[in-house]
């Protein structure tokens, strides 16, 4: 190591001189022990607290005498964990927590001896921008400040970063990461042969500008906000929310600042003169699971919905477990139960049925034509209404208009109604008066009665009915969304132990958690805070969480792991960031202008991002979990992108961006256990079945089974990090799902038509199309063998070839022999099933 930085030199020097080890780091070494072993009974939750002792606050711990700074032997914290007396030893046996290890005890002792210094939890402290560490004479290229942080740590640890990856792998990685799609072979070749110094940056910019970039980012966001097309509980009927998905895609494609993105989703409806898209954004508040189940109790579901919203908000924007405070104060973090319900109070103004259908939602005209149409039909109704009102007025003022009122036919007799109109008593009383003695209000009442009943006004009433029907009919052709509509807030009480039947808890008004920076004072004349206040607070510079949490999750998209690994928990029980300064630097860079694309570009431009993902045994031995980011992470693609990739390679992908959800192939009977009403999946036709996976109808109780096999979540709750499993169902999907077989068929046709002449050329062509690289000889041989064997097989059994080629909606071309094409389908199936094809390396 020739390029050691001064600090490392100093450290090495100090170490070699036999100096004392560095002081114990409270956050990294001590708090995890206290939090894991002690806080459950000696932490923030007052109700669970034993012996009135809390150890999460230094002053309290010292006051109680259990910690005597500098004197471990006099500190009960130490003596208790060391005790051999089962009645005295902490943690007590009945908690079934493992006893402290000798190392942990030694750490605690040393910490007390060094003065028992506490520090604030990293994510709760004010965000300040750390200096970028300087690295002199770096051995490796520093592309931007991210690399300074990464290299600084690597040098300290004595680990070398991986080499920059080859260009083929790099463009595939970048394409998957930025668009969720593989590059075309032409893109690959162009990039590989581009010798200009900014070739990579040009590629980054091109992919960031792709309309598919917004789709890729939306898949990430839709998991967080639990976007789905159905209500979730019981009948799990559809709900109209897809315009919200369009909003998210548009927002990422327009690089909408994240603060605006936040405000519009939480409170777009409360903005002054909200635009159509701001209203659509507010659909965020309606994405939760709801019920139509008969016998559901409104109060119970109001409580469930309130909790659902707080859970989601707490996860998405605060990156933590505020939800743990629903029944009691949080056991580890400073969230109180009152915090939970005062957060719930922010959402209490959202108007919705507690139990029952959600309704179709508000018409959201998407095209100029729809926009004009919606205006036109609304105006027509207003005109017809005005005409009827005016005619009724004239009628009511005219002499003897009501002479035969008792004989007027009933305009709405229904099945059992009387044939003639029923004249209400108040109308009768008015009519008994001479017409010149009637007050204006009384004349108004007569006009109203005449409007609804007078036979003379039949034509005007009919005109209004027609206009209204036309309005409904037109609006039904326009997309609708369950936007947020605010109203008088529901009463929100603290529910003791989360029990909705218990009304003894205090009424709560909107307020943010007490330990976080406060909301600005309410303006004069305003009675309470609302969602808009919450939204602005969420993205205020004082809020320490939002920028950190979001930057961490963005990093995860491009490295496979967060800098703090537990993306769903930034609180005390979460994992500490491996590179806290880097995370804070990224967060402050992000929070400056909330520029998502800036951060994304910064990350993918770094040298760290461009490293190879191949693990050398030495690196694996040293850092099996890649906590140093001394290499890239190999990852199987997300469910949607595996589908997109197969369709794209097969040339079938319909690249339309946005619009209603679609229904591609799904095994018949998969919905057999759904009811109210019973349903069967109605597959779409035409090119709708080739849309990107993110547009597939998302049925919460039965998400598309191919997506489930590939780890797509149900979107019932916030998903911060999809599990990545490797299970036989994935093989079954890729091998047998008609979607993938049809993609293989299309791929085979393309290969025969475009891949040159002869087996070898075509195999080269097909392999390159799927993996970005030419096959090695050994690889090509395997595929050629498969081809030859199946050519023979299908030549012997041409009827089997025809059956195979019958798959999918597109007929096979007439100018290719079925047995030849069928054999190529086998080859293409093999290629689409390769681990390499579905892996971002």
């Amino acid at each position: 190591m020739r390029t050691l930085l001064p600090v490392a030199c100093a450290l090495l020097f100090a170490a070699s001189a036999g100096a004392a080890p560095p002081p114990v780091d409270f956050a990294r070494e001590v708090r995890p022990i206290l939090s894991g072993q002690c806080f459950q009974c000696h932490g923030p939750d007052e109700k669970a607290r034993k012996a009135k002792l809390r150890l999460d606050l230094r002053d309290e711990a010292i006051k109680s005498g259990t910690i005597v700074p500098g004197k471990p032997d006099e500190s009960e914290v130490i003596t208790r964990v060391c005790s051999t007396d089962p009645d005295a030893r902490m943690p007590p046996e009945k908690l079934k927590k493992p006893a402290l290890t000798p190392d942990q005890i030694a750490t605690l002792k040393r910490w007390v001896a060094e003065g028992a210094k506490y520090s604030d939890h990293w994510s709760f402290t004010k965000l300040t921008r750390p200096p970028v560490p300087e690295i002199q004479n770096p051995k490796f290229e520093i592309r931007n400040p991210i690399d300074n942080f990464i290299l600084y740590r690597l040098l300290r640890e004595g680990v070398e970063p991986s080499k920059e990856v080859d260009r083929v792998t790099l463009i595939r990685r970048l394409s998957f990461d930025l668009t969720g799609l593989p590059p075309t072979p032409e893109d690959v070749r162009a990039f590989v042969s581009d010798k200009s110094p900014n070739a990579y940056e040009k590629l980054v910019d091109k992919l960031l500008a792709s309309p598919h970039h917004g789709e890729r980012m939306a898949v990430w966001w839709l998991d967080l906000v639990r976007y789905a097309d159905t209500i979730g509980y019981h009948s799990d009927n559809p709900m109209n929310v897809y315009p919200y998905r369009d909003y998210v895609v548009r927002a990422f494609n327009a690089n909408m600042p994240f603060d605006q993105f936040t405000v519009e989703q939480l409170a777009g409806d409360l903005l002054p003169k909200p635009t159509k898209w701001q209203l659509v954004a507010s659909t965020y508040n309606r994405l939760l699971q709801t019920t139509e189940e008969g016998g559901s109790q409104a109060k119970e579901y109001e409580a469930k919905y309130a909790a659902d919203r707080v859970r989601n908000f707490g996860q998405v924007w605060l990156g933590g477990t505020l939800m743990c405070a629903e029944c009691h104060n949080h056991k580890f973090d400073p969230y109180t139960q009152a915090d939970f319900y005062s957060m719930a109070a922010f959402f209490a103004d959202i108007q919705e049925p507690a139990v029952g259908g959600r309704g179709p939602g508000t018409p959201i005209p998407m095209t100029a034509e729809q926009e004009a149409g919606v205006k036109r039909v609304a105006r027509d109704v207003l005109i017809a209404q005005a005409k009827l009102e005016a005619a009724a007025r004239v009628f009511a003022e005219s002499e003897d208009a009501f002479a035969n009122v008792e004989k007027w036919p009933n305009p709405n007799p229904g099945k059992k109604g009387p044939a003639n109109v029923v004249v209400p008593a108040d109308v009768k009383a008015i009519l008994a008066k001479p017409s010149d003695k009637r007050t204006p209000a009384e004349v108004g009442r007569l006009a109203q009665f005449a409007r609804d009943n007078a036979p003379d006004l039949n034509a005007d009433r009919a005109a209004l009915a027609t206009a209204t029907a036309a309005k409904t009919a037109f609006e039904n052709t326009v997309p609708r969304a369950l936007i947020t509509i605010a109203g008088a807030p529901r009463t929100v009480r603290v529910l003791p132990r989360g029990n909705w039947l218990d009304e003894s808890g205090p009424v709560m008004t909107p307020k943010t958690p007490g330990f976080l920076p406060p909301l600005p004072p309410l303006a004069a004349g305003r009675g309470r805070y609302n969602r808009l206040d919450l939204a602005r607070w969420t993205v205020s510079p004082e809020n320490p969480l939002t920028a950190r949490v979001t930057a961490n999750r963005l990093w995860r998209l491009f490295f496979g792991y967060g800098i703090a690994r537990s993306l769903e928990e930034s609180g005390v029980q979460g994992e500490l960031p491996t590179h806290p300064e880097l995370l804070d630097w990224l967060a402050s860079e992000f929070g400056k202008k909330w520029d998502v694309r800036h951060l994304v570009k910064l990350i993918v431009m770094s040298g760290a991002y461009r490293q190879s993902s191949v693990e050398t045994p030495a690196v694996r031995e040293r850092d099996p979990m890649n906590k140093l980011f001394a290499r890239q992470t190999r990852q199987r693609l997300d469910a949607e992108f595996i589908r997109d990739t197969a369709l794209s390679i097969g040339g079938l992908l319909n690249p339309t961006v946005g619009g209603p959800s679609v229904k591609p192939y799904q095994p018949p009977g998969y919905w057999a256990a759904l009811n109210f009403p019973p349903r069967e999946w109605q597959k779409d036709t035409g090119d709708k079945v080739y849309r990107r996976g993110m547009y597939t109808h998302w049925q919460r109780s039965f998400p598309h089974p191919a997506m489930v096999a590939l780890d797509a979540p149900s979107r019932e709750e916030c998903t911060c990090d999809r599990a990545k499993s490797n299970i036989p169902q994935q093989a079954l999907v890729l091998l047998n799902d008609p979607e993938f077989v049809e993609a293989a068929k299309a791929f085979a046709i393309k290969t025969i038509k475009e891949g040159g002449e002869g087996g070898t050329d075509r195999i080269q062509w097909a392999f390159e199309r799927a993996t970005g690289r030419k096959p090695k000889v050994g690889e090509a041989v395997i595929l050629i063998q498969l081809l030859r064997k199946h050519e023979k097989h299908f030549a012997d059994k041409p009827e089997e070839a025809k059956k195979l080629l019958s798959i999918g909606d597109t007929p096979p071309p007439k100018d290719v022999k079925p047995e030849e094409l069928a054999a190529w389908v086998s080859v293409c199936r093999a290629i689409l099933n390769l681990h390499e094809t579905i892996t971002r390396q």
């Binding site: 979730g232 189940e293 792991y561 018949p668 169902q729 047998n736 086998s826 390499e836």
Partner: protein, 476 residues
Amino acid sequence: MNLHALRLHQRRTFLTQSCRGVGALALASLLDRRAAAAPQKVEKWKGVVTKPHVPPKVKRVIFMVMAGGASHLELFDNKPELAKRHGQQMPESITKGQPIAQLQGSAKLICFGPQWGFKKHGKSGQEMNELFVHLPEVADDLCIVRSAKTEAINHDPAHTFMNTGSTVSGRPSMGSWLTYGLGSEADDLPGFVVLTSNGRGGQNQPIAARQWAAGFLPGQFQGVQLRSKGDPVLYLPNPPGVEMGQQKDVIDAVARLNELQNAAVDDPEIATRIAQYELAFKMQTSVPALMEFKDEPAKVLEMYGAKGPDGSFAGNCLLARRLAQKGVRFIQLYHRDWDHHGGIKDGIKLKIEEVDRPLAALVKDLKRLGMFEDTLLVFTGEFGRTPMSQGGSGRDHHMKGFSVLLAGGGIKGGLSHGATDEFGYNAEEKVFPIHDLHATMLHLMGIDHERLTVKFQGRDYRLTDVHGHVVKDILA
């Protein structure tokens, strides 16, 4: 921390990390490789509980859910006092302030006596609906808990609670916990299998796939539905025109190509992927063979009352036994159509006709095969039904008291455990919350329910949340 605890802790840590990116199997093999420094065969998941916490009594569970909410008052909980008060108003002292489902807003809550008579059977005198003909033959093998209670009054959350110990979506279901904890003995089948059947009464309440989801555990622990109609496992059959030989050719080519790739990049996930393709291929033959009852003697079919693998409850009970023989860890049956808001008298008769024979057969058959002693059978609704009438002929949802039937290894046969009050409303004696059912079930499998945990959202989650006691009284 003893060695076992340490290992458990390590495995747990790795699995937790695996939730964030890499397959658990791959990670496990990665670790092995670190020790052995040589590529190894991918091993089957053996579970985090490598050494049982307590001596296990059973190896597997067959969990039968009478979906819709089976009426305890027409099955196992005879209430003469309720019969006596039939038609009278329920005492307000019992119902006041209690959650209520479809009877919300009813002017009066009226007592509705059991609609059928009860008979006592066996040496133990187990009491059950007089319509049961076959179940009485195994009465002394059954433990009937008459004091169960749950925490949700609507079908959907009640199923979620029964399966995951929480009404909030997203937690792993029981079968996922068990396969995570213990792995599976089955070689070419998933460790957690789900079977559903419909009733003839038209009250088929929906059952969401979330009921067998793995929640925050990796997908390998999710339940797999075996279907009697359509493909037995989704995407199981080859594409049209592709015979097993050609399918094998494709899979072999994929495996060989993946091996070459693995030689270049040395990625444990690739070895796992190859193994999963092998397993998928095995399933393609093993599952259809399993779903055909060709090798079952006619008298066995007759004993269950099964016509074949027709997706009836009888067929599913026999299929469950076949799955048990294959080493499947958790077999869950949903039998629908128990939601008797009206017409309960006739409705329950239909249901007893459907379940009586197969349920008894399952006990007898497992005994015949020497498997009764290492299998736990559970038979329960997601909740019970009200002692109050709904519309004069039915009963509403009820969560404060109902019956659960258990049998098999480690269970005291012929036992009646706990009781509801004289109306059958509140579980009163030896109250049996669902968390206790979970704790007891895990105990019988050799697991301390407080020690099978997974860290998620910064918290050690478990099937029993922060509750649950092993109910020693019902253990043999």
